[in-house]
């Protein structure tokens, strides 16, 4: 019984999501058309995959805002690799693998500063964000790199019923992440580190290696998100993803991941992501002009961040 109560409190996003879903579906007849559903699923998958990666980091108590630049960087890198030789162009799996490897190595390099030198993770991510964005712009010569591969673009166009393949990929990644976080020693260690790093260290958990792994997972997943976006646009664009940090972090907070670390989960992130995407989709459906949408988005994001933290800190005096 206690376990059930804890589960309800932990997953309170799900009833909210169902409520919002029924409300929007009831109010707008266009919402449940298969076109809108598949475009909504498609839209949430890109940032959703990156959000999934960020869950690992936030659970371990680190904060990072470089995902938007990683998304742009991986897309541009893929475009350049595909352009470089006809063989790579024909077999997009190989350049995609190389891109993810580069992302993993970048994550490894970044994690050195955070876990070994113990620099504040946010400041490091600020540097990484700026540097990778610059790298993407320089590599792409400041304009989109065309990919022009029908096979690669088809990945993001194929549907099974109304469900895009990309969403199935996203869902599979959610399940894998949930397994890693909830059922393995790695996941348990991350929760312990995020809860209290010093005590986790004293209890014999190698905080550095687990931190490094979390960083690698985050950078690889952000790279996957970049590949998905590149497939959707059929080009590697250096300026995509500038709004990523402020779209993705609220998804996590909505899902119930605490900024202070030690709380969260992949399925929670999935629902947080679905809820926020639903809200933004509804704004477009109800015809709110785009300038105003930005303002409403900003306001929603602030409300989410502020209220999430307010609830978390409700017992503190200052």
């Amino acid at each position: 019984m206690k376990k059930l109560a804890a589960a309800i409190v932990g997953y309170k996003i799900i009833p909210f999501f169902i409520l919002a879903f029924t409300a929007v579906a009831g109010l707008n007849p266009y919402f449940l058309t298969s076109y809108n559903v598949s475009s909504l699923l498609m839209q949430m998958s890109t940032y959703g995959i990156a959000a999934l990666g960020l869950s690992f980091l936030l659970i371990a108590g680190y904060l990072d805002i470089a995902m938007g630049s990683v998304i742009a960087f991986s897309g541009v890198l893929l475009g350049i690799l595909m352009r470089s030789s006809p063989f790579l162009h024909a077999n997009f799996i190989i350049p995609s693998g190389i891109v993810l490897l580069v992302c993993a190595l970048t994550g490894l390099a970044i994690s050195f500063f955070v876990t070994i030198l113990e620099v504040d993770s946010f400041v490091v991510s600020l540097c990484a964000m700026t540097f990778l964005r610059g790298a993407a712009l320089v590599m792409a010569n400041r304009k989109p790199v065309p990919i022009n591969s029908d096979a690669f673009a088809a990945l993001s166009q194929q549907l099974i019923g109304p469900v895009p393949i990309i969403f199935i990929l996203f869902f599979a990644l959610v399940l894998i992440s949930e397994y890693l976080l909830s059922w393995t020693a790695f996941g348990r260690n991350l929760f312990a580190i995020g809860g209290n790093r010093e005590i986790a260290g004293m209890a014999g958990i190698n905080t550095r290696i687990n931190g490094v792994l979390a960083y690698v997972a985050y950078y690889v997943l952000a790279g996957v998100a970049g590949l998905v976006l590149a497939s959707r646009m059929n080009s590697g664009t250096p300026i995509v993803g500038t709004d990523a940090p402020l779209s993705i972090i609220p998804m996590l907070i909505l899902g119930g991941t605490a900024l202070s670390g030690g709380k969260g989960g992949a399925i929670k992130t999935l629902f947080g992501c679905a809820f926020l995407s639903l809200a933004f989709n509804a704004m477009s459906l109800f015809g709110i002009p785009s300038n105003l949408q930005d303002m409403v988005k900003g306001a929603i994001i602030l409300v989410i961040i502020v209220s999430g933290k307010m609830y978390e800190n409700r017992e503190l005096k200052v």
């Binding site: 904060l63 805002i65 620099v119 490091v124 700026t130 320089v138 900024l259 933290k309 307010m310 200052v318």
Partner: protein, 330 residues
Amino acid sequence: MGEGSGRARLVVFMGRNISLLFLLALILIGCAGSPVFMTAKNILNVLRQSSVTGILACGFGLVFLMGGFDLSMGAILSLSSCLVIGVMKSSGFAEGLAIALAAGLAIGAANGVLINITKGDTSETFLITLGISLVCFSISTTYTNGYNLYYDSNGLETVFASIGQSYVWDIPVPVVLFVALLAIFQVVLKTTLLGRRIYLVGGNKKASFLSGIDVAGIKTLVFSLSGLCAGIAGVVMASRTTAAGPRIGEGYEFDACIAVIAGGMKIGAGKGGMVNVLVGTAILGILTNIMNLTGTDSVFQIMIKALILLLMVSLDSAKLAPSGVPAEKA
């Protein structure tokens, strides 16, 4: 630290003054690399170019001392530049100036109030100011319809043009403004009760609260001042370039952040002051100048700045490690 061999003391001295050494090295590189570097014209140029960043860094420095980041400064700068030109065109200079500065102050105060509601630490200041910058950006886009605003400087408002373009005894007015802000903030920090409290809140929020300091009030005040600085910087920028736009200030908060960290400030350490802001702004200004003189591409410049910021923060945390004090996470 008084005891110990001369070499150990030298290491300690270098560790403490790494920013000054870095500044010195940059000046030497500049002198050696380019014959124009040490000319009066170039020095004035560096001063004028770094004054906007410097004014931002003054506000950023205050927030940083108190244990926070203000990432909304670039967006506030854009908004205030749009407001000063837009309102001036329709009503007049005084109204434009007043509204631009008031907007900066109000948005800064909003930052402070929201952060107080969350009772948050450093990571909340990141996210909330980032969120506010999104709101700010959409306000300025709505106000200008997404276009840039231009102002004909040959027109009526000579006072407005003089803010960014004229000189006081051969010194550009933006530089005078920057130095004046530095001096005022330094005096407030070092000699007044308010200044002492800002240091205390940065050093230990809980202890300051328990000893009766109005932590929330101080936070709101400091964020408002930082917003005001961004507002001033926006007016200066609009006057200097006679143009304004919703994206004009993009990336400036990053520059201010680099200046403050490069100047040797450390978050929540309760140490440092406007001298560090001055040193950091000089480092950034000279670095930019050297890169401009050597014709470095603007994107490369940003990448180099990011690497330098990373280097600086790494050195800073490595500096603490040998003394047995690990960089504690708040």
